[in-house]
């Protein structure tokens, strides 16, 4: 079985986000870029499944400009066997990402596709569900545990009401939540080795995918700021303050 993992290049989660003064977007000049944290978890899960002898090959895919090759190389250094870049300039919306992933799926026939539950730049939370719809296959989103048995996966999902378990037939799309695993660190020799692993490049056009029905992204603004309030000295002052404000 092959496992396909989607990797998006995003602003590192530790970076303090600054909206450009002209409202055209978020400042990315000289800003640290990383693999979307949920995608690292997705990849880690795929690697563990392979290491358990339940998959033969792990392929990382990214849709984006050439700079996303950096993140694909990191994925290869983590242990993926090969990488595919679907070249696309500019902002890629979830439906386009899902359509491109579907083309790669049709080429590679994976038994499992694991994506992150959410890209932490646009916070869309759509791509996995869309891919599953277009592929007409099951989806198991927000996964915190995945157990593979034969041609089925039992997946525990983090939902508002607790932990939900569903069973899906393979092939299926799984999206990774934070508690699925703790991704491994990349070691230096692996970075060297990753340089020799295959990285195929194709364009959205090659795959016959056009960005349709894109949502028009307009002005960006920083959120209304909460300002620093008052400091109190002790519990008694805190309780008094809350009572004065009618909150207790």
């Amino acid at each position: 079985m092959k496992i396909l993992v989607g990797i998006k290049r995003v602003v590192d989660y530790n970076v303090r986000i600054r909206v450009r003064p002209d409202g055209s977007g978020v400042d990315t000049d000289g800003v640290k870029m990383s693999i979307n944290p949920f995608d690292e978890i997705a990849l880690e899960e795929a690697l563990r499944i392979k290491e358990a002898g339940k998959a033969e090959e792990v392929i990382v895919v990214s849709i984006g400009g050439d700079e996303c090759q950096q993140q694909l190389r990191t994925g290869l250094a983590m242990g993926a066997d090969r990488a595919v870049q679907v070249q696309s300039e500019g902002h890629v919306q979830p439906l386009t990402a899902a359509r491109a992933l579907l083309k790669v799926v049709e080429k590679e026939s994976p038994g499992l596709v694991i994506l992150g539950k959410q890209a932490i730049d646009d916070d869309n939370i759509q791509t996995g569900q869309m891919l599953a719809a277009l592929w007409d296959r099951p989806q198991a989103t927000f996964a915190s545990e995945v157990i593979l048995e034969g041609d089925k996966a039992t997946v525990t999902r983090e939902v508002d009401g607790g932990l939900e378990t569903i069973e899906v037939d393979l092939p299926a799309v799984i999206t990774a939540d934070l508690r699925l695993n703790q991704p491994r660190f990349v070691k230096l020799p692996d970075i060297m080795k990753a340089k020799r692993k295959p990285l195929d490049v194709m364009s959205l056009g090659d795959l016959g995918v056009a960005a349709e029905n894109d949502i028009d992204i307009g002005h960006h603004a920083p959120p209304p700021q909460r300002s620093r309030g008052i400091m109190v000295e002790d519990a008694a002052q805190l309780v008094k303050e809350l009572k004065d404000r009618g909150l207790l």
Partner: protein
């Protein structure tokens, strides 16, 4: 213009997220219908019919619609969507799972987490963990499929009586996805997403036993209980208590954070709270930058002091 709102329900009860989503729909305007999909749903349809601003309930029943499985529900919703210009769901894990599958079946991108309505097809939504608010517009020819950000929309009132139209499901179960079960963590405490007060604990609590301090204080003031990711990861409390970018986004009148540092991913979840109280032993903790009332000190002595002051 006509809007279809997808109702969320669990255990035979309408979820409050439905009334919030209807509020968002009323801001867009037009005729608002609510689709209740499930099995044996007369009671839920009746509840939904009471929501202010709703003119009709579509009660679609089918055995395969009983559980909240996106693979089963999305095709049925997509089949209903033809008659509507907008399809709206809640931005809960239920809506986040199902609505993008509906959008893809309809060939459109989804507008996730509507914070405000600027026009029939123009909205504001948060990105980058709420650090950039973006104006988005759906192209004229495309159906609007969207989710409403729970913390931005209060629930509409009840007391109305919309018509209920019963329908049988027109789709079949794909059969490839099966519901196994739900391990519900919830107890008798107020629901985190609608509680007017929330008391929250972080890594500093140190253990599940110590987290009892938080539960006791919450019970004393009738609050819901939240936690940081670190506290959930460490196993002090279950996942459904996590507040933040990847947990719940909440807007209580009072939020009290004990031993939480205030990472952006956590703060995203509480930005809309009325009053934020932070207790942390580190005067430099970032949580103080956004707290309305801050107290530097050890939570292990401060919480018992608060308790005794209240008794």
């Amino acid at each position: 213009m006509s809007i279809l709102v997808i109702a969320e329900h669990h255990g035979g009860k309408l979820n409050i997220s439905t009334a919030r989503t209807v509020h968002c729909a009323t801001a867009i305007g037009g005729d608002i219908h609510v689709a209740v999909l499930g099995h044996e749903i007369d009671g839920i349809a009746g509840e939904a019919a009471g929501l202010d601003g709703v003119s009709r309930i579509l009660a679609v029943s089918g055995a395969h619609l009983e559980k909240p499985l996106a693979a089963n529900l999305a095709p049925e919703i997509a089949a209903l969507a033809g008659d509507y210009s907008h399809v709206l769901g809640p931005s809960t894990t239920f809506g986040k799972d199902i609505m993008p599958r509906v959008a893809a079946l309809l060939g459109v991108n989804q507008v996730s987490d509507i914070m405000s309505v600027e026009g029939e097809r123009q909205f504001k939504r948060p990105t980058y963990a709420g650090n950039a608010i973006v104006d988005v517009a759906v192209p004229d020819h495309a159906k609007v499929v969207a989710t409403a950000r729970a913390a931005s929309w209060s629930a509409v009132e009840g007391g109305s009586s919309a018509d209920i139209e019963k329908r049988a499901a027109t789709t079949q179960a794909p059969g490839h996805t099966r519901y196994v079960g739900l391990k519900a963590a919830g107890g008798e405490r107020p629901d985190l997403q609608s509680a007017p007060k929330v008391v929250s604990g972080g890594r500093a609590l140190g253990s599940a036993e110590n987290f009892d301090l938080i539960f006791k204080l919450a019970d004393r003031i009738g609050a819901g209980v939240g936690a940081s990711r670190a506290a959930v990861d460490a196993g002090y409390v279950p996942n459904d208590m996590q507040v933040g970018q990847t947990g719940k986004i909440i807007a209580p009148e009072l939020y009290m954070a004990f031993g939480i540092s205030g990472a952006i991913q956590h703060v995203t979840g509480i930005k809309d709270a009325g009053t934020i109280v932070a207790v942390n032993k580190d005067a430099e903790a970032p949580i103080f930058e956004i707290a309305d009332i801050g107290l530097v000190g050890d939570l292990f002595s401060i919480i018992p002091e608060i308790q005794s002051l209240l008794d």
